[in-house]
Amino acid sequence: MYKIVKKEMLNPSVVLMDVYAPDIARVCKAGQFIVLRIDEVGERIPLTIADFFPEEGLVRIVTQAVGYTSRKLMNMSQGDSFLDFIGPLGQESEIENYGTVLCVCGGLGIAPMFPIARALKKAGNKVITVVGARNKELLIWEDILKEVSDEFYITTDDGSCGTKGLCTIVTKEILDREKIDHAWAIGPVIMMKFTALLTKEYNVPTTVSMNPIMVDGTGMCGACRLEVDGKTKFACVDGPEFDGHKVNWDLSMKRMNIYKAKEAISLEKAIKGGF
């Protein structure tokens, strides 16, 4: 059992949890993920690690209530435990001193971006961060991410904070005025797609973090397949980070919809369950 030592709502639909998993906290690196299962009937879901504290033995996860399991997870309290918590899985981010790095994050992508931006900063990079959200209320962790960034920009779809519009607007401005050596984009697939399309115009190598449907997360099942440069890859063992200019985005978007019909049934169950 893996105890939720701390639970904090970052906004009405986003939760932060620190989970006691000392073996994982000891060895995990920026860019990796865990798989968790809430209880005996639960499904295994992957979550990118948002932070880790080796001395306290804690792994931090941040998630948003979207589907059944994430709602069920949000319904858990501090002191409750996950039945299973497995990791670290996936390859770590390739952290090096690139020079100037642009970190573009959308929505919940802010959380997994944090340890990467921190590591990039520590490696000597100039870190420019762009954070996009639908509105001010949905912004999370902007202060934390700001601390590890040399420059920091916020965009909101409705203009309630920072620049009005999608994060690609500010990203383009930066690309126009500054030589960027490497970019990272983490967020919804559609946001990563358009960010990668943009950086490609400027020939800026771009790393994206994929978060497809998974089961075991150890290479055994292949649920997380995607196409990179025309070849099939498994996000769990080959990724989760890939060259954003080579990902077949449309395929990845379609593959998110496999269980659309089942999700409706699950959601009904969630409502009945009171979460």
Binding site: E43, L89, G222
Partner: protein, 463 residues
């Protein structure tokens, strides 16, 4: 005395009832059947059956004990050699092993050894008796077993009996490996697997689930920091193969591993009671014709598919699945689409599967495996209307551990190179099961685990 060649059949549930649920298909012998079958055994002086058994069970002895109605003794005879008799009695390919080697086999009257093994193991378990476990005095030696499937469990069991301190590190949330995630409930009930595995813990073996080999524990760390004297790597065949044909990443294309894991391990057949979903196709094509393919096809039928096809590029004679599995599948309404190979999965704009484009084959000259080589018939392309595809064409080695075990020699397929005693290129590191041989059977993995346990024991005691 005239030879009795009449094998006693084991009853199976009605195909049209069983193909709608996940309750076990084979019903097992009753006492009269078991006695009759056991009485046919010739109790050969040089039992050929034993030589056919990968774990060398003293088969004549246990069968003789059945004829004497000494069922407990028969059970303990089995347990001397095998950790999992109720499992092996169900899933071993006996026709190629003990029963294939039986002196009565050429006359089509091989003793039903698997059925008797199953009977004896079930009878003991159902009696509720506490199993007496014998264990040697502690040796003070520590062994880490990476992987809790048939090879790892079997090795851990033998080493623990010999007095060593054993820890199993398992990546999934439960022990059993393919017995839990791969083989469906209707062929191998999970409560039976769990019960047989329980003895491992009773022997004092420590179990660390959710522990991915090569991540939290590298081989180097286990030996240098954690004080393990030897490591047994049994991480199995992990990475599923695909055909590399267009359309393979469409939504309703599964690897058999994923499909069966969702259903068996995650219990998606009980969705929404269980949270894990699985797609239920109307017309399902399973590519491949091994035991795993049969399992995937039979599962699809049970979930409600109207038509299920086994698509295989050779003919019925070459089907690699056990004969019994093939027969059961056909009885349940699975159709064989033989001498056919897919060249493309067809889909719509939203990424959903709409069909399978195939070509027809005919059998040509025998190839290096001795089987007649399938040869494509020109201009034979045709489309099957299908809404779901399961790829059951095998698996490669799991890459995770191998990434982090420095100095371990691998062959060109990525499997660990180990000698007949399980020794690898690193001193004190042994390997066995699918990670060495490539995907094989439960009992071969158990045999490897058992043999390697003997060689690990020798290694530890000579240190």
């Amino acid at each position: 005395m005239a030879l009795n060649l009449n094998r006693v059949d084991m009853p199976n549930r009605d195909p049209n009832a069983r193909n709608k649920d996940f309750i076990e298909v084979a019903e097992g012998y009753d006492v009269a059947m078991a006695e009759e079958e056991a009485s046919r055994c010739l109790n050969c002086k040089k039992p050929l059956c034993r030589s056919g058994c990968p774990v060398n069970i003293d088969i004549p002895r246990f069968i003789n004990q059945v004829t004497k109605k000494d069922y407990d003794a028969a059970y303990y005879t089995l347990k001397e050699f095998s950790l999992l008799p109720a499992v092996c009695g169900r899933v071993c390919p006996q026709e190629h092993q003990c029963e294939g080697a039986c002196i009565l086999n050429p006359k089509k009257g091989a003793i039903g050894i698997g059925r008797l093994e199953r009977y004896v193991a079930d009878k003991f378990r159902e009696s509720g008796k506490e199993e007496a476990l014998k264990k040697e005095a502690p040796t003070g030696k520590k062994v880490a077993v990476l992987g809790g499937g048939p090879a790892g469990l079997s090795c851990a069991y033998d080493l623990a009996k010999l007095g060593h301190e054993v820890t199993i590190f398992e990546a999934l949330h439960t022990l059993g490996g393919v017995l839990m995630y791969g083989i469906p409930e209707f062929r191998l009930p999970k409560n039976i697997v769990e019960k047989e595995i329980e003895n491992i813990e009773k022997l004092g073996v420590k179990i660390e689930i959710n522990s991915v080999a090569g991540r939290v524990n590298t081989v180097e760390k286990l030996m240098k920091e954690d004080g393990f004297d030897a490591v047994f790597i049994a991480t199995g065949a992990g990475l599923p193969y695909f055909l590399n044909i267009p359309g393979e990443n469409l939504n309703e294309v599964y690897s058999a591993n994923e499909y069966l894991t969702r259903i068996n391990l995650m219990k998606a057949y009980k969705f929404p009671e269980y949270d894990t979903p699985v797609f239920v196709g109307d017309k399902v094509a399973v590519i491949g014709a091994g035991n795993v393919a049969m399992d995937a096809a039979r599962v699809s039928k049970r979930l409600g598919a109207k038509e299920v096809y086994i698509v295989y590029r050779r003919s019925k004679d070459e089907v690699p699945a056990r004969l019994e599995e093939l027969e059961h599948a056909e009885e349940e309404g699975i159709k064989l689409q033989l001498l056919t190979s897919p060249i493309e999965v067809l889909g719509d704009d939203n990424g959903h599967v709409t069909g399978l484009r195939c070509v027809s084959y005919e059998l040509g000259e025998p190839d290096e495996s001795g089987r007649r080589k399938p040869v494509e018939i020109p201009n034979s392309e045709f489309d099957m209307p299908i809404d779901m595809v399961v790829m059951a064409i095998g698996q490669g080695p799991n890459p995770l551990l191998l990434e982090t075990a420095k100095g371990l020699d691998l062959n060109k397929r990525g499997n660990i190179i180990a000698d007949d005693y399980g020794k690898t290129s690193i001193d004190g590191v042994f390997a066995g099961g699918d990670i060495v041989t490539g995907a094989a059977t439960v009992i071969l993995a158990m045999g490897a685990g058992k043999n390697t346990a003997a060689s690990i024991h020798e290694y530890l005691m000579s240190k």
